[in-house]
Structure formats: structure tokens, C-alpha cells
Symmetry: C2
Subunit: 567 residues, 2 copies
């Protein structure tokens, strides 16, 4: 080589950082690559912490090893990747003029200055923490670092904790809730807003709430933490905004993260309005020799074009990989943006989402959207199909798919991946309604759940059916509104389970012969439902054809009813 080797310095040694460094190494065997990591460990699979804490596996090394079982320590990075990984070393200042990074070896306090040609900032994010009295008591922690996972796992193994509170009803909050519950700890999740899992529409979130309670964990919504209570420096309880006191030996805080941008800000790099480092599609900061990726950056929404924060492990790796390429071949790779796709397991339910929720669509200025809520099985009943309840969103004018949320014991993950890809390809409801997916009975219905959701949404877009949500029906019933409720299932189904909200039972197959049981007033509101909504929809078509003008179906059917039932 005639040129001196490129000097690459990467700050942050968990996901985005090591990925950028590793990719750069594969493209340039001769570059000098230094990875600076504050913590003792490298390449931690943070997303696995809840499963380690919950006892799904016992070997902590699984969190930091390659698929072949080799721990990704500095020796591994040296031998396998010729990357100089400095652990327990904090980058404390970036001098962009001199092109150096000042680092402090934490055990010794020794300061070192490392020169760079290209710098990568992958400092991640830090957990937010409630600024309330008592927040320094022992017994309160987050689950963010591997040390947190170690501590929680120890608590699990010791079996002393009886009651825990999880502060924050987001993805990580519920993963922690499950892990603690599996350890035999009675757990209550506290959510400040009215609805858990903010990326879900409230109706689906409500179903998860009911499900989690049914599993024995508790949830309190609309109520924040006012104070942590303790004795002798040890947590004994949590006091909520409304005054309730919950005794507990452990509180795990999971109320979101804030990008770590201190270093970048002090170095004069542009910080975006959402608090993350600004980057272009090459993942370059406002200094073209400095890249940034992962939880510390803002990225672009592929749906709205707006900046968003998307602190996800998959994206950190993708962005790191893009940087790895650009470090060696400038401008050779772009990160196009995100569709906001995520997933989480809560007991035996999966909760997945991609694109926009109704709320976020409205906030982003999509004023004319249509939604459809659909309950259905993943595979046929004779193959033991499991339920999924999903909501699909589209832009009314263009028909473009804007979002999809799905929950339930069924194979939600496949459907979310499918719709995420459809959103990426800017497909319309019409496209999805005729999708050629892999069909065989062990894997889907003849018309997959995603296709049925597109069909129902298409019907709504074309005005062929009008829907009403379970929440709206409940409101009407509670207010004693003058509407006619029609259950179109079989007598046997009605016997086994029913809402008991004043409904009349007329099975869909008998409806044409029993029209006399329906309201004479053709303008009276009729709300129809069945198990999933399929037969309600057929019944609605019959009635509309016979002159009833105000017919609606309760979307998602009985299985999407989150309120108490008579039976």
C-alpha cells in the first residue's frame, strides 16, 4: 500500500459502533480501526436482556457472543477483526479541528488522545428517569446496560423480591413485566398516559391491558409516579399521582430513552429538534468526516419524510453497516429511512406494528385516513389456528397503506413483516388485496389475514360497509343510546359466550326470514356483530339492500371487545 492506512475511530461499542467498524474492516484490511467503549463489555445484545432476566436462558455469554459461541471481547475483535477495542474507556472530547478524540481509561483515569481521519459516533441513548422524590433509593433501576440485566437476574435467582412495579407501559416495560412475572414476582405496570403501548391505537392497547391482567400482572394507566417511598434508603413502595401507594421491593423504570449527544454537541455538530444528532442519508453529521448512527441520531420517516427518532437494534445495525461502507468508499451507501416497524412479546401474545397509528397519522397531517379492524386466525381452525386482531390504515385518497398494528397469540410477526415491506414498496390497499402470498394450511388461511384486512379496508374505502369500534358501541350502550344491537352468530355460540348489552340474536343464515324482528324504522341505527365481524358484514349487506339506511358493523367482533361480557 502506498497510502498510509486510514485512521478510523468509533465511539460506542454495542451495536451501531461495532457494526460500522466490522464492515469497514471487511472493505479495508489495512485501515487502523479503534473502537472506544465505556463499558466493560462489547457488542451486547441488549434486546436479549429481558429474556436473560426472565430465565429463558442462563448463560450470560449468550448476550455477547457470536453464533459460533465466541465471546466478542477485545481479543476477539483483535484476532477476528483486527479492531483495537478499548473497553472501560470513555471518549470525553472530540477536537474536530485537530481531528482527535480524547479518551479516559476509566479504571486508571489515564487520558489518551487518538487521531482520526474518519470518526463514528455511536453513543446510543440513556434511559429517562423520573425526577421525583425518592428516586435514588436502592431498589430502583432501569434495564438498559448489561449491568442492569446482571442485577435483575441476580434478584430473580435470589427469589427475595415479592412485588415489583414497572414504571412505563412501553415495549421494554412489558418485556420486563413478563420477565419478573415469570420469576414469580407480582408485578404492576404504571403508565402515565391513558393508554399503554403508545404505538398502538387505544382500542388494541386496551385488549392487551385486559390480556396482561388475565395473566396475573397488574396495570395502572393514567397515573404517573409521584414519589418513590423507602425506609433506610431501601425502596418500600411507589406513590402515584392520584395518591395511591403501592408497596414493592423493586421498581424498574422504563419510560423511554434520550439520545446521548453531549460529545457531539460539545464538538459543535448539529443536533436536531428531536434531540438526536442530525445526519444525512449517508449517515454523515454536519461534519462530513464524522458519521453517527443508532440511538443517538434522528432519522427520516419513509412515510412522512419528517425526522423521527427510532431507537431500535435492527436500525442501529443497518445504519452502522451503511457507515462502514461510507468510511471506506465515501458516498457508496445510503440509509433510506424507517417505516417505524417494531414488535414485542407479552406472555403468549405478540404485539407488532409498522407505519403509523391513527394518532400518529393525524399528527403527521394525514387528515383523510380510513382504518379497518379485523379479527381472524393465522391458519385454519383444523390446523389449530390462533387469533390475531389487527388494524390497517390507509390514506383515503391514494389508497396507500399507512400503517398496521396486530396483536394476539397468532403469528403476528409474519403479518407485520409483510405489511412493513408493503409500506416500503408504497403499495396500496388494492395491491395488498390481491397479494400473492405463500399459502398452505400450516402457514395461513387461503386468504391470509393481511389480505382479509386489506379486503375489509377496501370495502370501507369504497363505502361498502360502515364500521364502529367496540369502544363506540360501549359508549352508546352506557349512554342508553337508541340503537338496535344485532348478534348474528348461532344460538350455540350465543349460549357459550355473549356480550349481554341488550342485543338481539338472529343467526345470519336466518336473517332473511326473520326481518320482522328488526326495527321498523329504517333510519334507526343498527349495529351488527358476530365472532369476528365476517357474518356481521354479510348481514349488513342484506339489511342495506332491504332499505335500512343506518347499518354498521362492530369491527373486530366479540373477540375484540375489551369490556366485561355477560358470559
Amino acid at each position: 500500500m502506498s497510502n498510509p492506512p486510514r485512521k478510523i475511530v468509533v465511539i460506542g461499542g454495542s451495536a451501531a459502533g461495532p457494526k460500522a467498524a466490522s464492515k469497514a474492516r471487511r472493505l479495508d484490511e489495512h485501515a487502523s480501526i479503534t473502537l472506544i467503549q465505556k463499558e466493560a463489555d462489547l457488542s451486547m445484545a441488549s434486546c436479549g436482556y429481558p429474556y436473560y432476566v426472565g430465565g429463558v436462558f442462563d448463560d450470560r455469554n449468550q448476550l455477547i457472543c457470536t453464533p459460533a459461541g465466541i465471546v466478542r471481547d477485545p481479543v476477539f475483535f483483535d484476532k477476528a477483526k483486527r479492531i483495537d477495542a478499548l473497553t472501560r474507556t470513555e471518549a470525553i472530547a472530540i477536537d474536530r479541528a485537530a481531528k482527535t478524540v480524547a479518551c479516559k481509561h476509566l479504571p486508571t483515569g489515564e487520558i489518551r488522545t487518538i487521531p482520526y481521519d474518519k470518526l463514528v459516533i455511536a453513543t446510543g441513548a440513556s434511559p429517562l428517569y423520573p425526577q421525583v422524590p425518592g428516586n435514588t433509593l436502592d431498589g430502583i433501576q432501569t434495564l438498559h446496560k448489561i449491568g442492569d440485566a446482571d442485577a435483575l437476574r441476580t434478584l430473580r435467582d435470589q427469589g427475595q423480591v415479592r412485588r415489583a412495579v414497572v414504571v412505563g407501559g412501553g415495549l421494554i416495560g412489558f418485556e420486563v413485566c413478563e420477565a419478573l412475572h415469570l420469576a414469580g414476582i407480582h408485578t404492576t405496570v404504571i403508565e402515565k398516559t391513558a393508554s399503554i403501548l403508545p404505538f398502538l391505537d387505544p382500542d388494541l392497547a386496551k385488549l392487551i391491558e385486559v390480556y396482561v391482567r388475565g395473566n396475573g400482572a397488574d396495570i395502572i394507566t393514567d397515573n404517573g409516579v409521584a414519589a418513590f417511598l423507602g425506609e433506610n434508603g431501601q425502596l418500600t413502595g411507589v406513590k402515584l399521582d392520584n395518591g395511591t401507594e403501592l408497596p414493592c421491593d423493586l421498581a424498574v423504570v422504563a419510560v423511554g430513552v434520550r439520545p446521548n449527544v453531549g460529545l457531539a454537541r460539545e464538538a459543535g455538530l448539529a443536533i436536531g429538534e428531536l434531540g438526536g444528532i442530525e445526519v444525512n442519508e449517508y449517515m454523515q453529521t454536519s461534519d462530513s468526516d464524522v458519521y453517527a448512527a443508532g440511538d443517538c441520531v434522528e432519522c427520516k420517516s419513509l412515510i412522512t419524510g419528517a425526522k423521527v427518532r427510532a431507537p431500535y437494534g435492527d436500525l442501529a445495525n443497518l445504519q452502522g453497516r451503511v457507515i462502514g461502507q461510507n468510511l471506506i468508499e465515501e458516498g457508496s451507501a445510503r440509509f433510506p429511512g424507517v417505516t417505524h416497524t417494531g414488535i414485542c412479546k407479552i406472555f403468549d401474545y405478540t404485539v407488532g406494528f409498522t407505519g403509523m397509528s391513527t394518532q400518529s397519522a393525524h399528527a403527521a397531517g394525514f387528515t383523510d385516513i380510513e382504518t379497518a379492524t379485523v379479527s381472524g386466525l393465522d391458519i385454519p381452525p383444523y390446523m389449530q389456528g390462533k387469533l390475531m386482531i389487527s388494524k390497517m390504515l390507509a390514506d383515503r385518497k391514494t389508497g396507500r397503506v399507512l400503517g398496521f398494528q396486530s396483536i394476539g397469540p397468532g403469528d403476528v410477526s409474519k403479518r407485520v413483516a409483510t405489511v412493513a415491506t408493503a409500506i416500503r414498496g408504497q403499495l396500496t390497499i388494492d395491491d395488498l388485496a390481491n397479494a400473492d402470498l405463500p399459502y398452505a394450511p400450516p402457514y395461513s388461511l387461503a386468504l391470509d389475514h393481511v389480505i382479509v384486512a386489506a379486503h375489509v379496508l377496501e370495502n370501507k374505502l369504497l363505502g361498502r360497509v360502515r364500521g364502529v369500534s367496540a369502544a363506540e358501541v360501549k359508549q352508546r350502550v352506557d349512554k342508553g343510546a337508541d340503537c338496535f344491537l344485532l348478534d348474528t352468530r348461532t344460538p350455540q355460540e350465543f349460549e357459550d359466550m355473549r356480550l349481554g348489552i341488550g342485543e338481539t340474536l338472529v343467526p345470519v343464515g336466518a336473517l332473511r326470514d326473520r326481518l320482522g324482528e328488526l326495527p321498523e324504522d329504517k333510519d334507526k341505527e343498527i349495529i351488527i356483530y358476530c365472532h369476528s365481524a365476517l357474518r356481521g358484514y354479510e348481514a349488513a349487506a342484506m339489511l342495506e339492500a332491504r332499505g335500512w339506511r343506518n347499518v354498521k358493523i362492530m369491527e373486530g367482533g366479540i373477540v375484540a371487545w375489551p369490556y366485561p361480557r355477560e358470559k
Copy 2:
């Protein structure tokens, strides 16, 4: 209603036909709709037959009932859908001038003429049958009609059959093979061509072959059936093209289907070159008052634009639904075409595909394609991830994804659905390489298998790596070719399992220090492999950077090696 009701006649009562009729009913409560069905049953889930035969479930009604458990018989069609379903009734002629269909009630022989305004032909397909001596013996059958399923189920329950032969190594052949094997019957699949499962590239097909044999069923390829052998009219064996005789008590023929176009042809409707009824995107035949859908038609490939046959249950339903709309609102719905996506379960493996195989891409005139074979887990090792081996294809010039095949115990179905949707959206490898998919440890790796496949294929497209298939390596080894084989796994992995084809072991982490063990001649072909190919790829980059000019990795690694191993 001032107009007289529309008269709609539908011929064929299984998937496409009832779907068209049902959709039409929802859009027009007043139309007269008649469904003509030759068989005694209606709405049969044919795709479920193998699972009924195999004993996955016992209640035959599951094959013909709604999700609520109601058998879709003529009473159901009358009551729930006001569709006049005439079973055991064969349509025997279409008079397009008079706009009538002549039907024969099979039990009585009575002939009736039914007038139509709009006609739907959904006559399906018939199984092909080998025209060889002995093909009328008892003990030979297909699995196409529900009566076939009944017969095979009875054989299973009686437990008398010891040995069976399945003629045809396609999807249905292997589903039957599994069902018979589960019933304790020793089963041999006979495939005339060199490779089973024709939509797979031969290397993946070969892996399935090995897997099926490992499960105790047998496969013979490159060998057709020359004759069925028998005594007293009863099958006793099968004679193959090469003379081999296989004794057996049962032969199930599954060598493909031919569209049922007799009625359409005699009515003067245009039949395509592939033998199916010609339709436009509204699913209209050459007579605009006659529609056709399902196994009896030809449809358009969304990838090549060419006509293809795609006899799949999901497509029959989608096409039927499009027709249902057009029957009532002419020109209101289009069926865009197919991506050729399918799937099947073979023991604990899934076999899925979408788009083109290498062979079909070449045949379609894609002369410049690139492929990548990737072995990997569906979810992390610590979550008990399972293997998938996949091949992704792209057009070299545009980068457009052309196809994806995936096999293994892992969650293949999700990945195939994802790539099918990507192909539908005309995404490129670059798009897939940065896909935002739902990631959490119970559902995928941080970089999902599909993304890794796109990364590897991107690397190949950019010339960053050169691949060689297991088959090519085997050929080289068998010919004693002068190449250097390098295994880059750990000594422990080498101890546990190895190819034993003359390879040298140098773990990737030691490679930079042990370059002396490599060939001095920098032009010598070096073929590197590891477990999956990941470490082989890193090693290749190291060697190329040090001047070796002819370095390749064996794609898919050891787990994609279908030949005998030393260990």
C-alpha cells in the same frame, strides 16, 4: 327494484366459483345466483386433504365448513348467501348465443337449461395421469377430489397398506408422502426429472432430498414410472424407467394438473398457449359476459409479464373475488397478476418460494442474474433459533429482486411472505438491504435472515465476494482439482463435524497469524467455508487484501452441504 334481477351462473363449486358467487351476493342482494357443482360437496378446502389423510385432524367436516363450524352445503348457501347451489350437477354445454348453460343432474340424468346474463367458469383442473400399462389397477389414485381424500384416509385408518409409492416429486407429492409416512406406511417418492420440487434450484432441492431420506421416506429421482404391476386387478408394484421394480400396495399419482377447459373450448372461448382459458385483468374471457378464474385459467406473471399457469388456492379465491365485483359493477376490479409464491410443509421443514428460480429466470430471458445462498437462523441461538437455507436472486443491472427460495426448520413462511411483497413492490436488493422489519429476539435476528440474504447478494453484485456452490466444490473435489480448501471454524467445531474433503483448518481468528499455511501461489484457487459462510466471507476479505487473487467462499457453508461428510 325496477330492473329484473341479474342472472348469474357459476360453474364449479370449490374455491373460485363460490368466492365469485359470494362476493357478487354481497354486492347485489337481488341477483339470481346459481352455482353448478359436479361433486356432492361444495367449498372444499382441498389444500387440507393431506392433513386430513395424515391424521392431523379427524373431522372431515372441517374441510367444508365455515370458521364457525357450519358445513357449506346447499342449505348453507341458500340460507346464508341466497345462492342456489346445485350439487351433483354437471354443466355440459354453454350456449353463448342463447346465453344458457345446459346442466345434467348426475344421479337422475335429468338435463336442465339455465339462462345467464353473466357466466363464471371455475371448473378447476384435473390431475394428470401416467399413460403407462397397468394404470387402471386398483390401488392407484390421485389426491385431488374429496373422495380421494376419503379413500386415502380410510386406507390410513385401516392400517393395511405397508408400502406406498408417490409418483411425482412436487408439492402435493411430498405432502402425500408425509401423510402416508405419518400413517406408518413406508413411502417412496418417484420423480422423473433429476431434481424434486421443480420451483427450487437443484442445490436446495438436493438438501430436501437428503432431509426426507433422513426422516425415513425414500426418493428416487431421474426415473419415471414405466408400468404399474398387479395381480388380479390389484396393484402390487411399480416398474421404473430403468427397470427397477418397487413392490407396493398403494400408488398415489401427483404429477401435476391440466386446466379443465373442455366446456370453454367447445363454447368457442379463447384458450391460451399454456392450455388455460385466456382472461384479461378483469378476469373476463374472450366473451365479455363470461368470466373465468382459478385453476382453469392462465394468468400474468408480475415479473415477466408473460402468461403463466398458477394453480393455487389463494389465487383462485382472489380471482373469484375480483370476478364477484365485476359481475355487479363491470370493470370495477382487476387481478394484477402473480409473483408465483407458494409454500409447503415436509416433515419439520418448510419449503417456500416466490418469484423465479435460477432456471425459470434464465428461461424467461433474464440472462444477467446474480444469486446468493445464505444459511442462517430465524431467531437468536439463545432463543433456540432454527436453521433456514435460502437463495435470493436479483437482476444484476437493475438490482431488482427476482426470486427467493427458502427451506429448513426455521420460520421460512415469514421470510417468503416478506420477499413476495418486496417483489410485488419491485424493490431492489438495496431496498431490502435496509429494510425496517419487526425485530425482537423471539421473532428474528437483529438483522433478519432476509436482510442478511440481501447483504450477501449485494456483496456479490458489487464484486466484493465470489461464491461457489457446494455442488461445484464437490465436483472439483471429485475431479481432484487443484484447489486449496480452507475451513475457518474453531478446532472444536472441526472435531464435532467436518467435511473431510482435503481441507485445511485455520480458524478465522488465527488466520492473519497463520498465512504461511496458505498456498504460496497467489493465483491458486482457494475455497473457504465455515458453518454458514459468515466467517468464510471475513477470511476471504483478509486473503484478497493480502494478494491472493482467486478466493471464493462456499455459499451456505457446511449446513448447505448435501453430500456425505467424514464426520
